[in-house]
């Protein structure tokens, strides 16, 4: 399943849920981002209601390494 649309946008609510909770899902998100053959992607947080500490920490760490 393709996780991003033609604008290279990842809609997080759709591909994870409205609550971003588990750490490994942040890791997996960045694995998928790296598959996009483009140097810019859009992460769309619309309708995301909460982010756990673990997810947020992993997200920030992965973002630094992109």
């Amino acid at each position: 399943m393709k996780l991003w649309n033609k604008d290279k946008t990842f809609i997080l609510k759709k591909i994870i849920s409205s609550d971003l909770i588990l750490r490994d899902l942040a890791t997996n998100l960045f694995k998928d981002i790296k598959k996009v053959k483009n140097d810019a992607v859009v992460l769309n947080f619309k309708d995301v209601e909460s982010i756990s500490r673990s997810f947020a920490q992993e997200y920030l760490m992965q973002k630094k390494n992109v």
Binding site: I16, S17, S18, D19, L20, I21, L22, R23, D24, L25, S50, S52, R53, S54, F55, Q57, M61
Partner: protein, 259 residues
């Protein structure tokens, strides 16, 4: 009955059953999540054993309902029945999200942030460290307090420390280290799950906490933290974590506490 005694209740049922080949709940009047979750797995792993249901009709009905394995909720939302965590984390994330939405608004239980923190970080720890075959969560709201219980049958905290070559004196010490923020992951941002949950329960919610893992246990009541190296009949495969706190309660300065 405090959390420690609820766990002892499970251990006694198991010990009796190991000798008699029956899981006898006849004379029980009350079973809390701390007794029930490890009991569910014990029942699952000993399916040949006969289960004698409680004589008490209310408890019998409760036991049947909460162990029915359906992902469902009571009408009055007073509890989350035994909910098995799937191996697939994406699926687990969706289940947790549904739990949050179904059980909230929960302002009288310390607020949304507190409730989510207590739940999310522990479930994430299960996926990060335990290597479980089976893992469960269950919440029960009583008249004056709520009990949140998490149980996995994985390698346990001492097991995870051993694999990561984190040194510890004994199992109880390994649990103490985990509660103080020592992590098996080589990253200074790790180790906040258990340690901040302990802080929330102790300082903000003024509740109880019980952590049992392999041969060790740590129990927190309103006064102090007790640690135990367990005799054979009280040892547990995996990790059991329970919180219990009175409500209504509000948490001031959530972000300072979990900082």
């Amino acid at each position: 009955m405090n959390l420690l005694n609820c766990y002892k209740q499970f251990s006694n049922i198991r010990e009796h059953s190991d000798k008699s080949n029956k899981i006898d709940l006849t004379n029980f009047e009350f079973l809390s999540p701390t007794t029930l979750l490890p009991l569910i797995l014990y029942v699952e792993q000993n399916s040949a054993k006969e289960i004698i249901l409680p004589k008490n009709e209310n408890l019998k009905s409760y036991f049947t309902t909460v162990t029915s394995r359906f992902y469902c909720y009571s009408e009055n939302q007073s509890f989350l029945p035994v909910t098995k965590l799937p191996k697939d984390q994406k699926e687990a994330n969706i289940i947790l999200s549904k739990i949050f939405k179904r059980l909230e608004p929960i302002n009288d239980l310390g607020g949304v942030n507190t409730f989510r923190y207590l739940t999310s970080e522990i479930v994430d720890n299960i996926y990060q460290h335990s290597k479980f075959n089976s893992a469960y969560v269950m919440f029960q709201k009583y008249k004056k307090y709520i009990e949140l219980t998490f149980y996995d049958d994985g390698i346990g905290i001492p097991g995870a420390f051993k694999n990561a070559k984190v040194s510890f004196e004994d199992s109880a010490n390994a649990l103490e280290l985990a509660l103080s923020g020592v992590s098996t992951k080589d990253n200074q941002e790790r180790g906040y799950g258990l340690s901040r949950n302990l802080k929330l329960v102790k300082d903000a919610l003024r509740g109880e906490m019980l952590l049992v893992s392999l041969e060790g246990a740590v129990y927190l009541d309103q006064n102090r933290l007790y640690k135990y190296n367990l005799p054979l009949n009280y040892r547990l495969k995996g990790t059991l974590l329970s919180y219990r706190y009175n409500f209504p309660v509000s948490v001031e300065g959530f972000y300072e506490i979990v900082e």
